[in-house]
């Protein structure tokens, strides 16, 4: 359990949905969210969102950094980064600044990436 916590960040997350749990409806949290169960609905977090290896989510995910190690049928909107791990499967569109798709991951959809502009360039422009 301790090793699983390290990977998923369970101990620090605001909201944790365990692997045997089913959720129907929209999950909203101000902090980090970890989902390792079955979910039908959207997830919106002020912090990071992690879908564990056992997660099956049908819905959209909106957060800061999003990490998918399970299955997601829905769109991702991540203000910072999105990672799909080797066990992750995403069928949906991704809007993010940094995208990381590991070898073995499955991604069916389109990605829209926001380019981050270095501070020096913004200064020069102004």
């Amino acid at each position: 359990m301790a090793k699983k916590d390290d990977i998923l960040g369970v101990s620090s997350a605001d909201t944790v949905i365990g692997s045997g749990v089913k959720v129907k409806g929209n999950l909203i949290s101000e902090g980090d969210v970890v989902v390792d169960g079955l979910m039908s609905g959207n997830i919106k977090a002020g912090g990071n969102i992690t879908l564990g290896v056992n997660a099956h989510v049908l819905g959209d995910v909106i957060g800061q950094n999003v990490r998918v190690a399970g299955t997601l049928n829905g769109n991702i909107s991540a203000s910072e980064s999105t990672s799909i791990t080797e066990t992750g499967e995403v069928a949906g569109d991704i809007a993010t600044t940094i995208l990381n798709v590991e070898s073995g991951a499955l991604f069916i959809g389109t990605s829209k990436m926001k380019r981050s502009v270095p501070a020096e360039i913004i200064e020069e422009a102004t």
């Binding site: 944790v16 365990g18 045997g20 749990v21 129907k24 409806g25 949290s29 169960g37």
Partner: protein, 285 residues
């Protein structure tokens, strides 16, 4: 003006052996007041209500979690402060308020550091600290019927607890959370607490944790009282949850059995000011 409500049966009658020393210490600290002894369940609630009607602005529960919970249910005005002198068998509430023993409690009462906590309602009952249900409530209901004074009795209780734990079939818990989503989970234990009670710097919010049945090793530690048995598999925050469990189970509030499922638990606007040891941005009064 301080009003002390003593439960003479708390802590197996411990108050009787310390009450003279207690009164002397309180007088020396300048917070002596009126003392009253309860005679049965529900008395502390009525005494708190009556003391407030008479004009007392500080009600102190001298007992365990049960006594303090009864006092909480009797405090109807938000200008009244509540304190505790822990001498019961279970003193989790006092522990969470940073109070370890009766001597420290007296110093804390004199320092009068106040923190406001929103009460949690479960049906008709209000509570401050914790609601729990599941395997633990089954054990608690049984332990009330079992004597465990001799070594043989203690061993018998342990054997019975171990058998129950081993044979325990997970319950099915269904919850409606903040009218936003529904959740279904296998359940060994469920607890609901106010996160502010754990950390006074946080906002008032319900934290609901669900644990699944631990492994055999975890069960052994759990039955021996050496651990909580398992890490929470699910943790959510909310202001209102409606809980149904099948089969039906008893519900424990502040360490005392108080009803059964289904139950709706919600964070209320009703705030009570507690005299606490914890460092906060609370107001001295």
């Amino acid at each position: 003006m301080y009003y002390y409500i003593l439960n003479p049966s708390a802590g197996r009658g411990r108050v009787n052996s310390i009450q003279d020393k207690l009164r002397d210490r309180l007088d020396a600290l300048g917070i002596g007041g009126e003392f009253a002894k309860t005679t049965g369940p529900g008395d502390a609630t009525k005494m708190a209500e009556s003391a407030i009607a008479k004009g007392f602005n500080t009600i102190v529960a001298v007992g365990g979690d049960g006594t303090l919970n009864e006092v909480i249910n009797g405090v109807t005005r938000d200008k009244v402060a509540v304190g505790v002198i822990p001498i019961g068998q279970t003193n989790r509430l006092a522990y969470h308020l940073g109070i370890g023993d009766w001597q420290q409690a007296c110093e804390v009462l004199a320092a009068r550091r106040l923190v406001g906590y929103n009460l949690i309602a479960a049906g008709q009952n209000y509570f401050l600290s914790e609601l729990s249900l599941g395997f633990e409530t089954g054990l608690e209901e049984q332990s009330n019927d079992q004597e465990s004074n001799t070594l043989r009795q203690k061993a018998s209780v342990l054997r019975s607890n171990w058998k129950q734990a081993k044979d325990f079939q997970p319950l099915v818990c269904r919850m409606r959370v903040d009218e936003r989503y529904e959740l279904e989970a296998p359940l060994f234990n469920l607890t609901i607490a106010n996160q502010k009670f754990e950390n006074p710097l946080l906002d008032n919010k319900l934290v609901i944790t669900i644990t699944e049945k631990p492994s055999k090793t975890g069960l052994v530690s759990y039955v021996l009282g050496k651990s909580t048995g398992a890490e929470a598999s699910t943790r959510i925050k909310a202001t209102r949850v409606s809980i149904d469990v099948s089969p039906q189970v008893g519900v424990m509030i502040d360490s005392k059995i108080a009803g059964s499922t289904p139950v709706t638990v919600k964070l209320t606007d009703r705030q009570i000011r507690f005299i606490t040891e914890k460092q906060t941005n609370g107001v001295q009064a």
